[in-house]
Symmetry: C2
Subunit: 206 residues, 2 copies
């Protein structure tokens, strides 16, 4: 099974702008792209739709998913689990789609284990000072919370080198074009093209 | 020495359109890109300029280049040698440029040996039938010459899988955009970005 879709993992510290980059990329690639929906054990809120915002499952179902190696990655925050079930990702990839996974650095490692063909992108801010400026600019967090986010960000940045590509989010549209180029190029990789080569050869043996 | 330029090798059978793709790509990337100039022992013709069309050298000089491992790749046609001297390529890469090498399948292997970071692209026609149609359409060659070119093309296509990327030249502008995406993505590879990461971290240790 070659010539399938593409699994694109995107990580980066809080405040690096990866959510905005992902929405723009999805706008640009249209029907070709999907954002992976996470599974969670937390309560469904107000207008959240199962299968759209999250897959809402019980603790037992989530545990079973972990035991049966059906989670691409997962993490626990407080008493709730959050993770990526592998089934829907594989279905979309089989249909030739580009699936984007917006996950934490720790999740990236597990994805690599289960899906070695995944293409992993780490988004970095132009500088640590700029990251702090952006987090402060949001005006939604206490100085203490920002300080904590900065500590986490510095720790996460040390994992950047485990990723395939580094995108610096200085000018947003450039970063979006960078990710689009990575998607386009990844689909041209020779491993993904054996079927294309066979079609061109179109003569059985010899 | 990271964050250097990029060496892009482009190969593909005669008639696949790689020369046209390369000119368009060079037009699009402007000052950033250079086509590598070959070295040859053949006589200089009419308005050919040394260092522009070829580096014209003596048999002795060429031999010395081979012996001193200063040729990225070379081949002999009749009594003349043609090849790529490594010096100018390295100089351009050190200046952060993208250097394009338009070479034969046999040359690709040697480049891989001397420059393992080179990114190699193989251009294929949409089909063998279409390749034959294009070669015939040129109207410049005898049926016998075309038959021979087709045999060589089929042999070359078997080497496609040794390359990093496969670009199908069906619609020219798509193929050009494919190569541009490969260039852009290759420059974002993590191996090329250690300096970028250090700049962002901008705090010495810890």
């Amino acid at each position: 099974m070659n010539d399938q879709g593409l699994l694109l993992v995107i990580s980066g510290p809080s405040g690096c702008g990866k959510d905005t980059i992902i929405s723009r990329v999805l706008e640009r690639i249209g029907d070709e792209g999907f954002l992976s929906v996470s599974m969670t054990t937390r309560e469904r809120r107000g207008n959240e739709v199962d299968g759209v915002h999250y897959y809402f499952v019980s603790q037992e179902e989530f545990q079973k998913g972990i035991e049966e190696d059906r989670m691409l990655e997962y993490a626990r925050y407080g008493k709730n689990f959050y993770g990526t079930p592998v089934g829907p990702v594989r279905d979309l990839m089989r249909a030739g789609k580009t699936v984007i996974l917006n996950i934490e650095v720790t999740g990236g490692k597990n994805v690599r284990r289960l899906m070695p063909d995944a293409v992993e992108v780490f988004v970095i801010p132009p500088s640590i000072a700029e990251l702090e400026r952006r987090l402060t600019g949001r005006g939604t967090e206490t100085p203490e919370a920002i300080r904590r986010r900065m500590e986490i960000a510095k720790k996460e940045l040390r994992h950047a080198c485990e990723y395939d590509y580094i995108v610096v989010n200085d000018a947003l549209e450039d970063a979006v074009d960078d990710v689009l180029a990575i998607i386009r190029a990844s689909k041209l990789k020779t491993e993904k093209s054996t079927q294309k080569i066979c079609e061109v050869m179109d003569y059985a043996e010899s």
